[in-house]
């Protein structure tokens, strides 16, 4: 006997025919046509439209002071990176709510890597290391960023609510990262405070905070939904 022969000799008692018949009959009893989820690409495009709409609205309401004071070089670096991360987060969110989807990275790894990339970009672009009113100014930006992450999270949930997350916390992290990036983008358009540590600490904090909050909400929310499904 060799390990390669295991499939033939693994414990393999088949389920009772009566049991499978009962399962099939109960499923057939409540059988209505259902509309399958749209392809991942469609969902990602919809999420990006939401992202763009909320970032535009947020920036229009708060003002474009940040964008107006940024150099063309900084704009050319910061916003494409943010857009790329938003695309990755949208894809991760769509995949996390579809069982059996391809997952190259755990959303938490993606979020950590995304934050590291953004921090590096900020360090390359901004060179004012002074702190100024670090905490009071920082709290204002953090609040504003989180405020715009909330509607993004709500619309993301609306778009993905038909899906089913097998890894609830990971789905929350992916959606939270996506919402947090929307909040961060609004701040980059709006905030004219170009002190490096203000941006690295307070602007960037919107992303992990959103991810952590949504991970908790998704975990407990989906758990309750699963309990309802099984009733």
């Amino acid at each position: 006997m060799r390990p390669e022969e295991f499939p033939e000799i693994l414990p393999g008692a088949a389920p009772d025919a009566a049991l499978t018949e009962r399962i099939a009959a109960s499923m057939a009893q409540d059988l209505k046509p259902v509309r399958p989820l749209p392809p991942t690409g469609t969902t990602v495009v919809r999420l990006l439209v939401v992202f763009l709409a909320i970032v535009s609205l947020g920036s229009a309401i708060l003002g474009f002071s940040g964008l107006l004071h940024l150099s063309p070089g900084a704009i050319a670096v910061i916003f494409p990176v943010l857009a790329g991360l938003a695309l990755l987060a949208a894809t991760a969110s769509a995949n996390a709510t579809t069982p059996g989807s391809r997952r190259r990275f755990h959303p938490a790894v993606l979020m950590a890597a995304g934050c590291a990339v953004m921090a590096t970009v900020f360090m390359l672009v901004f060179d004012d290391h002074s702190l100024g009113s670090f905490v009071p100014e920082g709290l204002v930006c953090l609040r504003a960023g989180l405020l715009w992450a909330v509607p993004t999270a709500v619309f993301t949930w609306l778009l993905l609510r038909r899906g089913y997350a097998v890894d609830r916390a990971a789905a929350g992290v992916a959606c939270g990262m996506f919402a947090g990036l929307a909040g961060l983008s609004v701040l980059e358009f709006h905030c004219p405070n170009f002190r490096l540590w203000h941006i690295v600490v307070w602007h960037l904090a919107v992303v992990p905070i959103s991810a952590a909050v949504l991970a908790v909400i998704y975990f407990f929310g989906s758990k309750r939904r699963d309990a309802e499904l099984m009733q």
């Binding site: 399958p36 069982p99 997952r103 097998v166």
Partner: protein, 175 residues
Amino acid sequence: MQPSADLEQLMVRYQQGDAAAVTELVQRLSPQLHRFFLAQFVSRRYADDLLQETWLRIHQVRHTYRPGEPVLPWLYALARNVRVDHFRRTRRREDRERQMEELPATPAVQPADPHGPDVEAMLRELPESQREVLVMLKVSGMSIEEVARATSSSVGSVKQKAHRAYEKLRRLYEA
């Protein structure tokens, strides 16, 4: 092993409300799902419960299958999810009962089948994640890509787990 295109067509018909497709899916996929649960060394009764719960969940979220995608990773992702939930519920219940009665816990794991007890003993030595990957690859006949999808991990991670499982089994077999 199931021809995947055939299963995909059955899933599409199931989503369209075809009762014959449901019966065929249940008849064809239940044995391998049951074996998947038994290979985690749960009792036969637990495996039956898990099988029923899995089909119930599949039924509730059947719209999340995307036509054109492979069926088995979707199915096994849900089966794993049911197993984890079931395990957590059982553990909580057992903890509560133990606290209340302070009785020694009844062993939850019972040999499911008398065939090849040495294989079972060897499989018991594997960490759960490696055992799961091995069962999906060798019993359910899934590809590495499909196992990666079902377990929400990367292809590299699945290859590594399978390699470690084979190595360990080989060592145990030779010992």
